[in-house]
Symmetry: C2
Subunit: 209 residues, 2 copies
């Protein structure tokens, strides 16, 4: 993941050049863009976007799958960083969650094509494991909210997280479909998420049938 700065211990290649790193970065960015818009983007398409010849990709990533893995980590890393910057530990749970969502939802929405891709490519467990850099930050926030009575305690944390993620993606989908204005999406989304996971008066008419 994190590239070394001046550490003089490189594995095999004696002299690593700067343009190699630039190529890798360009490829990852291009792949992220391309795959987000179409999860079936070809290597040619990605190379084209990266301003690079197709063979160059194979210099850095032995196979398509390897590239997909790298892109996945790259995307998760970006969201994890944005989450960290939004400081999930600070303030009231409800307010903190809203703050984190405002900071990350556009990114998450951008990557929602990737998610579909990886859902097909990886097992559900593997997928979850890869998301940990983000989930590990959100989990304490939700738990804190539960303890303070702000969030529902009758449902597991993992479920509340899943629902949150799901509503974020729904909002981006509705925007794409033209049924939700980009300007109001953020408020609608956050308001809905809070409605879904906040503690609320029990619905009595649920028991029958």
């Amino acid at each position: 993941m994190a590239k070394k700065t001046t550490t003089p211990e490189a594995p095999t290649p004696k002299r690593r050049r700067a343009d190699a790193d630039r190529s890798v970065a360009a490829i990852l960015d291009a792949a992220l863009e391309a795959l987000a818009s179409d999860p079936d983007s070809s290597m040619s398409e990605i190379a084209r976007r990266a301003g690079v010849v197709r063979a160059t990709i194979y210099v850095h990533f032995p196979t398509r799958d390897a590239l997909l893995d790298a892109v996945m980590d790259y995307a998760v890393g970006q969201v994890a960083e944005a989450t960290r910057e939004a400081d999930p530990e600070r303030g009231e749970p409800v307010e903190a969650l809203a703050r984190v969502l405002r900071a990350t939802w556009r990114q998450l929405a951008q990557f929602h094509g990737l998610l579909a891709l990886n859902t097909a490519r990886l097992s559900a467990e593997e997928l979850h494991r890869r998301h940990l850099p983000v989930l590990d930050q959100l989990e304490p926030l939700i738990e804190r909210g539960q303890k303070q009575g702000a969030f529902r305690s009758d449902l597991p944390v993992t479920w509340l997280l899943a629902v949150t993620r799901s509503i974020v993606h729904t909002s981006s989908h509705e925007i794409r479909a033209g049924r939700l204005a980009d300007s109001e999406a953020e408020d609608v989304m956050i308001s809905t998420i809070l409605g879904a996971i906040s503690e609320a008066p029990a619905v009595s008419s649920l028991e029958g049938r």
Copy 2:
């Protein structure tokens, strides 16, 4: 769509045989199954499941895309029928919605792979248009709930529907991931959906950014 029973007016073929209809049905069922588990299922795979040779599919569906269209309509039709049978017009909105969801959520969950497929294949508008047979039944129910003060009126009906659909799919996804027991999924799902779309005390701490 609906096949005729004894109507003697057939378009071009003078004598339509019964095994032809049987083949079509087998293909549609097989395609539904196959595509639900893997949206990229090949024609060979579908043919294998249908107990039919690949060429036979092309007898009834000129192209892969044509088959996909037919499967889409078939799936939507099934859900629409189950919805109709659950009688969305009857009873209190909250109770009616819960009833309809209990009757359809497993079907919807089964088809969630199809949705991913069609999201990529069709425009968002086209996709929405195809879902109308189901949505047209749910919309009045939601609107009725809004008028009676049971469901949130500060959000558009289309949004509430989208959120509902989204949470249904999330529950099936969480079951697959092993994070939600099949037995409790139904209650968790319905309870969450009602929390998300029901009228609730306004969350005041939302305004201050």
